[in-house]
Symmetry: C2
Subunit: 199 residues, 2 copies
């Protein structure tokens, strides 16, 4: 089975980061490659009435604990970054620009940006910080700075976010195997079972 | 390891129902027995700002799909009941009354009430319907009717719900292994791994 696999994530989502460390292996095991899509949770949370996770009473404390426990059980390098959550529009735009040059470059940038935020505690909400990461993975920093200030990239991010919502995406990580939707890092095993069952 | 296992669920939570079909086996495998606690999500959702699942834009459609898929993958008899969600105060009070007589009777009642709602589409928001279920598992229907109208049971349910929230419970199912909290049916495997790791 080689259904198309789409992986949606917000750079400010710890569970999205966890999934980013697994999604390419999962896709390979299923006989394909994952298509990565940076999203912005802001407009999605507005639609569903969701609040930022760690600021929610009761659920916030639990989630903080669950993130650390999950990272430990899965042996994923992680600490809860400060500040959190952050605006991820610069990172998302850089990723779209990198993808327009080369899909693999987009993924390499995303992986480094996620590592910077969740492991090295670099504030990737700051455009200059993400531009340095872009440079480190091989992008021209001046071209990238220009690209992410362009109306074209801004419009593309908005329209891709709207397309994701139209498809049903409301959280991070969100994964489609063909047209089958899966929400959450804890659904990765379900995806394997679902595909193995062949339906 | 024989840590105490507490299982919190709302009768109107499909994922709570799914967990109810697994929790006793899980507890047995971990060397103990599960203590079942009926909760009311209403006051909890008020605290966290959560909305009833199926009424939430985007998330509602996904959840409907995920419930049916999960039941299929886990081979749990299930259909989405109508109406949904429902008030579960009568069922919760009966369960507390049954537990006051015998813990196993409380569980037997809960299992039958959940099956009635999620398999046979019996409206367990209606007190008379749950009283019939109580009778079927061996409770005296007149004593039960009297008990659930008593101030004592009403106060007990309120205070147990508040105690659950004070402990951090905000959703269904919610499971504690000792003091370690787990939210969601999809955390049952995590519980096994967590306990096996011995931490």
């Amino acid at each position: 089975m080689t259904a198309r696999i789409d992986f949606y994530f917000d750079f400010s989502s710890p569970y999205g980061y966890f999934a980013s460390t697994r999604i390419d292996d999962l896709a390979r095991d299923l006989g394909g490659a994952a298509h990565w899509h940076p999203i912005l949770l802001g407009p999605m949370f507005k639609a569903t009435g969701a609040a930022p996770l760690l600021e929610t009473p009761l659920k916030g404390d639990y989630s903080r604990h669950d993130m650390l426990r999950t990272a430990g059980l899965e042996q994923i390098p992680f600490r809860i970054p400060e500040p959190f959550p952050i605006a991820t529009v610069a990172a998302a735009r850089i990723m779209l620009y990198a993808q327009s040059l080369d899909a693999a470059l987009g993924i390499a940038f995303a992986q480094q940006a996620l590592k910077a935020y969740y492991v090295d505690n670099i504030h990737i909400g700051e455009a200059e910080n993400v531009l340095q990461i872009a440079k480190a993975v091989g992008l021209n920093i001046d071209d990238t700075r220009e690209a992410i200030a362009s109306d074209a990239i801004k419009a593309q991010l908005r329209s891709e976010n709207e397309a994701a919502m139209a498809r049903g995406v409301f959280g991070s990580p969100f994964i489609f195997v063909g047209d089958e939707p899966f929400w959450g890092f804890d659904r990765l095993d379900t995806i394997r079972r679902f595909v193995q069952r062949g339906s």
